[in-house]
């Protein structure tokens, strides 16, 4: 392995392919060879051409493209269908080498690639090229029709690449044929192997990319969904496991003041809001209110709607006094209406991503996300949805998704994985009662914020949208007319109570007055008695005094010996009293 020991420490070349540089920690190995293998239509040519175009645009260094399978003119025509910056100067920086052996060429004996490689070496020196793609090497090797010769030529290319120091990319078709296995050893002699796969599941086509090998470098070995859209090949990179979002404390209004209050200030900026509910439960209205509020704050907003035209949405929202048209005119708001079409949802998400990049919104509505749900049952689709939302989060875009859901059975929500990625989940439901249907709003969850657990009635009118408390009576939630009735009943009840209270108060006052009056009588009586008593006391006192003095007078009158103390009951004057003899 003289080629390896000669090489300098590993450095990398950015491919500029969305997501690929992330999973390889910086792109392809510089000055070494990468094999891109896959079946027909996997995007091998797009992948390799795209990385050349990106490289030329970024570094202004020349590159070479050796086309074994398609003619240069064909390749350039295909390249023109992408939105790449592939201007004339950039095109001139890439040297295309037509290396298709014409079908009428006669083969007589063995050939080799010495001539071609020499020509390319001369050209590379002349252009100061740094990168080369050998596209469809299997086509040429197949002509050799001899395993030993094929192997020899592959080694020749490898040595040539090591010698020239070019960063090489070799693409190789792998098909179901046994013959294709012949080139398997290619994997062992290159430094990096990228496998592209194209599969059809339930009639839907899915493309995947996997880095199978990367000498001297860490990489993510998972299979990642890719899409081929106007932007070219894109990888939906979920930045495996690690979630690095900058979280915001900033709140943005939901468009309904009362709902903001329920969320203790509105949605978090950069968060993901899911509005679920039955058909017609005003999901779009709530989404529209959010968009209108964002535009009013002067924020760029993108409204993505599926299966419903922009003008229809604007008209519908006007009926509840939400005006989007002026914002659309000013360019703040972009309405992007598309059909949930076609087999590949992964590509649809890629398209959305491109639209987001073009408009650079800070607020986004996807209405309804569940339009894609039929496709979301497939793992790759669910992945794509999740990755799209992840991408939005990374861009700190506040997203409101609506989702058609009849109940919070969560089956559907869980299947799509949307509910788990949603930071705030608001469910809208109907309450059918007494022959009418009313809308109810509940906050199922809201991460990182306190929120009301109360069910609110959502009232739509031509003056706007409001939330109202619901009445709970006898274990039943009342809305609409039932609530009005309840309100009337409550008012009457209140009046009745008022009257009864007033009456009672009067009665009490009367009783109080009565008591006071009685107290007055008693008081007066007391005073009278007191007076009476005083008079009585006075009278008694003088009487006893009188008696005392009377006795003295009497004694003196009888000349009683005042000094002699006579035994009790013995009258000194009248001698000894005989028992049984009273005074007569």
């Amino acid at each position: 392995m003289k080629t390896l020991s000669k090489q300098a420490p590993l450095t990398k070349v950015l491919t500029g392919i969305q997501g690929f540089d992330e999973i390889t920690n910086g792109g392809l190995p510089r000055g070494r060879t990468t094999l891109v293998m896959g079946g027909p239509g996997c995007g091998k040519t797009v992948f390799s051409l795209q990385l050349l175009v990106n490289g030329v645009n970024r570094t202004k260094e020349a590159a070479m493209f050796v086309a074994f399978e398609e003619r240069t003119s064909q390749i350039l025509t295909n390249a023109a269908t992408f939105n790449w910056e592939f201007s004339e100067p950039a095109r001139k920086k890439i040297f295309f080498f037509d290396a298709q052996i014409a079908p009428d060429t006669v083969k007589s004996g063995e050939f080799d690639l010495i001539g071609m490689l020499h020509m390319l070496k001369i050209k590379a020196k002349e252009l100061k090229a740094t990168c080369i793609v050998f596209d469809g090497i299997d086509v040429l090797l197949g002509l050799l029709d001899d395993p030993v010769a094929e192997r020899r030529e592959i080694y020749r290319i490898r040595d040539w690449l090591a010698d020239t120091g070019l960063t090489g990319v070799i693409t190789q078709k792998v098909g179901p044929l046994k013959r294709d296995l012949r080139y398997n050893f290619l994997q062992f002699i290159v430094d990096c192997v990228v496998v592209l796969r194209h599969q059809v599941v339930d009639g839907s086509a899915f493309r995947n990319l996997r880095v199978m090998k990367y000498r001297g470098s860490g990489f993510y070995g998972d299979e990642f969904p890719i899409s081929l859209s106007a932007e070219g090949l894109q990888l939906s990179n979920r930045g495996p496991a690690e979630l690095r979002y900058e979280v915001s404390e900033e709140r943005v209004s939901s468009g309904i003041p009362r709902l903001d209050a329920m969320l203790r200030g509105g949605y978090y900026r950069g968060s993901n809001v899911l509005l679920s509910g039955a058909p017609g439960s005003a999901k779009s209205t709530l989404a529209g209110l959010f968009a209108a509020a964002a535009c009013k704050r002067g924020e760029r907003t993108l409204y993505v709607s599926f299966d419903e035209g922009a003008s229809q949405i604007i008209r519908n929202l006007r009926s509840v006094a939400v005006e989007l048209a002026p914002h659309q005119k000013s360019g703040l708001l972009k309405m992007y209406s598309t059909r949930t079409r076609g087999p590949n949802i992964v590509e649809q998400f890629a398209e959305l991503r491109a639209t987001v990049r073009a408009h650079r919104p800070s607020c986004l509505v996807v209405d309804p996300l569940s339009a894609l749900a039929t496709k979301l049952s497939h793992l790759a689709s669910a992945d794509a949805a999740q990755q799209f939302l992840d991408f939005l989060k990374g861009e700190r875009i506040t997203v409101v998704n609506t989702s058609l859901m009849d109940g919070i059975s969560t089956d559907e929500a869980t299947a799509t994985g949307i509910s788990t990625i949603a930071d705030t989940w608001i469910h809208l439901s109907y309450l059918v009662q007494d022959g009418e249907r009313n809308r109810a709003l509940t906050i199922v969850k809201s991460r990182g914020t306190g929120h009301s657990n109360q069910v609110r009635e959502l009232k739509l009118s031509d003056t706007g949208v409001t939330l109202a408390d619901v009445f709970v009576a006898q274990g039943k939630v009342l809305m609409g007319v039932a609530r009005w009735e309840w309100e009337q009943y409550e008012q009457a009840e209140k009046n009745r109570t008022q009257v009864a209270t007033d009456l009672k108060r009067l009665q009490l006052r009367r009783a109080q007055a009565e008591a006071a009056a009685r107290m007055q009588v008693v008081q007066t009586e007391m005073e009278a008695r007191d007076a009476e008593l005083a008079v009585l006391d006075q009278a008694t006192g003088s009487a006893s005094q009188l008696l005392m003095s009377d006795q003295g007078v009497l004694r003196r009158m009888r000349h009683a010996d005042e000094e002699s103390a006579l035994p009790d009951g013995v009258s000194p004057t009248f001698g000894k009293r005989r028992p049984g003899r009273g005074r007569s």
């Binding site: 009428d104 006669v106 004996g109 040429l140």
Partner: protein, 96 residues
Amino acid sequence: MPPIAIKKASLVLRLYVAGSAPNSVRAIRNAQAICDAHFASRYELEIVDLLEHPQRAFIDGIIVTPTLIRLLPLPVQKVVGSLSDAEQLLLALAGS
């Protein structure tokens, strides 16, 4: 020995080789042997070493070595390989 019908060569060939690579060396030998045997002096064979004249190879659209080009008679016909398959080579040189 067939007679020389016309002075001017009716068969004009150009053989691109890559130095002294085995296939190239073999091709030169095979080309000369077959042409001598079948076309005698009615042919012209130019041998171009691609390693020395790469620009000519670009003009002639050479991809692999060795490559033999029949310039005349028209149409231009290419034969790739060491020309070890004489039957294939003769068909190519004689055919139209």
